[in-house]
Amino acid sequence: MNKFITAYYNDEEDLLKGIKMMKSNGVEPLDVLTPFPVHGLDKALGLKRSRLTRVAFVGGVVGGLVGFFFQAWVFTKAYPLNFGGKPFFAVPSFMPVTFEMTVLFAAFAMVIAFFVHNKLGPGAKPVIHDERVTDDRFLLVFDIWEKDEKEVSNIQMALTNAGAQGIQLKA
């Protein structure tokens, strides 16, 4: 079991100010839980831009190639059949399915990567620090598992100074 300190704000602007103040005191939160995506929070926490877009790109390329070459293989090698005098290698005819496969693979690759990367999924058992996080609270979480008492009280001091409310120590 981990040990945490949690504290919350009631407003996202106070949260951003609070994080800034604590960072200047050298205290970094483990995580920040918010009811909605807060504009500017990524920057305040120094989060990098997600690379999931690359997964989507690779997925799309794979899907498109699979879609196109599968059709080409079926029509030129596996079972060439004359449909309405069209050429066997009928590129315009292959485009719709190629496009759909591109989108399908890109979307699914990215969403699956999103779930795996975030460790989200059916049956995931998260630690719920505060049930009002999904309602109206902006919660800061600090990991204190390997911290001594002095550091813990430092964090608590910093939180009080930064105007956080409901500071709790959870074992």
Partner: protein, 456 residues
């Protein structure tokens, strides 16, 4: 984010975050109202009629339908296209309006997307039932088999299989990914243990972590970027079903964009029909405001006018082309035996939406509701006109004939309407009808009380 003071607020009343949660979750709480029971009884009865009609079709065969030697496609394909079209608004709102950063979409995207999924399910029912042997429906997918046969990749009907199933799958994950944070809210607000466990499972372990939100925003945006061309592609491919043929009135190059526009047009009409009732019944007037209705009405004018221009272009080009079959097909549409259907289509799709140029009508709920029903009817007749009038008199006058639906066909259509409303009513009880987190994210910039606080 700064928002100009002259913009109308998107969320009315004195709200804070907790109030938003409470308001939006309220339709799910407690026992359903008696209107809900009445609604679901009515919709269920309609669905039962569909069950009877399906039984007739499967056990007695397609002969129970009114099809004949030249009109091999009529009622079922009309309904298929109509439902697919309705299924375009949800993803349009979520994807294209997200890319264009129209904030008003946050209040309506969730229910519109749910409607999309249900409408696609209703649409999918028609190709499936028209195969007659439902159990062999999987033949439409390319899979390795002992007969060494593959599907025909040259056929627009097969492209449809890919387009519709991709559209359904991608819309589903798009909808669900957006829903996960809100399911987290439902989970944390649940007092009952079983309810908590179920929503806990469905929430995929959502905690609202900043990292998760950051990635969530990224994938929502990329999904929107993928879904936007996907929406266009689906009705484009549906239009290819007709336009790749050489039937007069079907083979015309304007079909793809014109079908897409018509689909969004009919989809918004259905969203309006549903939401005007739902906002009242669920007491969500502060979230789905007259402002939202007005914005949707503007899209109705836009897409309706595009459709109108396409009708006129087709008509002009039928004459300009100098092809006598083409000219006759359009003359026959407007003045032949199905002229009544044509003029219903023209009135409902081209004339009535133009009333929305008047601000009074655009902001009137009653007028909007009536016009939205007109558009639904008009768009149904559009497909009927395209399908039936082109087929009933083609190149060979000796084969000219007429078409009339049978009770079984009507039953199938009524059945899908029943299915649609049943599933929508269930959706209202099971999931939040408005995207809670998204509304909260615009509350500060576009909420009524917040705007006052900032600018006075």
């Amino acid at each position: 984010m700064y928002v100009s003071p002259i913009r109308e607020p998107l969320i009315r009343g004195n709200k804070n975050y907790s109030q938003v949660t409470k308001d939006i979750l309220s339709p799910m709480a407690g026992k359903p109202s008696k209107y809900w029971y009445m609604g679901i009884a009515l919709a269920g009865a309609a669905a039962l009629m569909g069950a009877w009609a399906s039984y007739e079709t499967v056990f007695n065969g397609i002969g129970t339908w009114g099809l004949n030697k030249t009109i091999g496609w009529a009622w079922d394909i009309t309904n298929f296209v109509w439902w697919v079209g309705i299924g375009h608004a949800g993803t349009f709102i979520s994807a294209i309006l997200l890319l264009f950063r129209q904030k008003w979409r946050t209040s309506i995207n969730r229910s519109a997307e749910a409607m999309t999924l249900i409408a696609i399910a209703c649409a999918g029912f028609f190709p499936l039932i028209h195969m007659g042997r439902l159990l062999l429906g999987f033949f439409i997918f390319p899979y390795p088999n002992t007969r060494d046969l593959w599907v025909n990749f040259n056929s627009p009907l097969l492209w449809d299989v890919f387009a519709i199933s991709t559209y359904f799958a991608v819309s589903l994950i798009f909808w669900y990914v957006g829903l996960i944070p809100d399911i987290g809210t439902v989970r944390d607000k649940a007092t009952n243990k079983i309810r908590k466990a179920i929503y806990g499972f469905l929430s995929f372990g959502w905690t609202g972590s900043a990292r998760h939100w950051s990635r969530h925003e990224t994938i929502s945006l990329v999904l929107a970027g993928l879904a936007a061309p996907l929406v266009l592609s689906v009705h484009t491919i549906v239009s290819f079903d007709f336009a790749t043929s050489v039937i007069p009135g079907w083979h015309t190059t304007i079909f793809p964009p014109y079908f897409v526009s018509g689909a969004i047009f009919s989809g918004f009409a259905m969203v309006l029909t549903l939401l005007i009732v739902a906002r009242k019944a669920l007491h969500l007037e502060d979230y789905i405001t007259v402002n939202h209705i007005e914005s949707m009405n503007k899209i109705i004018i836009l897409t309706g006018s595009i459709v109108g221009i396409a009708y006129l272009t087709e008509f002009f080009m039928a004459w300009y082309s100098g092809v006598e079959y083409e000219t006759y097909a359009f003359f026959n549409r407007a003045f032949g035996p199905y002229a009544w259907a044509y003029w219903i289509m023209m009135t409902c799709n081209v004339i009535t939406p133009q009333l929305f140029w008047f601000k009074k009508i655009r902001t009137s709920l009653v007028a909007t509701f009536i016009i939205s029903i007109f558009v639904n009817i008009g768009m149904w007749f559009e497909r009927f006109v395209i399908v039936v009038t082109s087929l009933h008199r083609d190149y060979l006058p000796s084969s000219w004939t007429m078409y009339k639906p049978t009770l079984v066909e009507v039953g199938l259509y009524v059945g899908t309407l029943g299915l649609f409303f049943t599933l929508f009513l269930l959706f209202i009880r099971v999931f939040p009808v408005i995207a809670i987190a998204e509304v909260k994210s615009v509350l500060k910039s576009s909420g009524e009380n917040q705007k006052h606080a900032h600018h006075e």
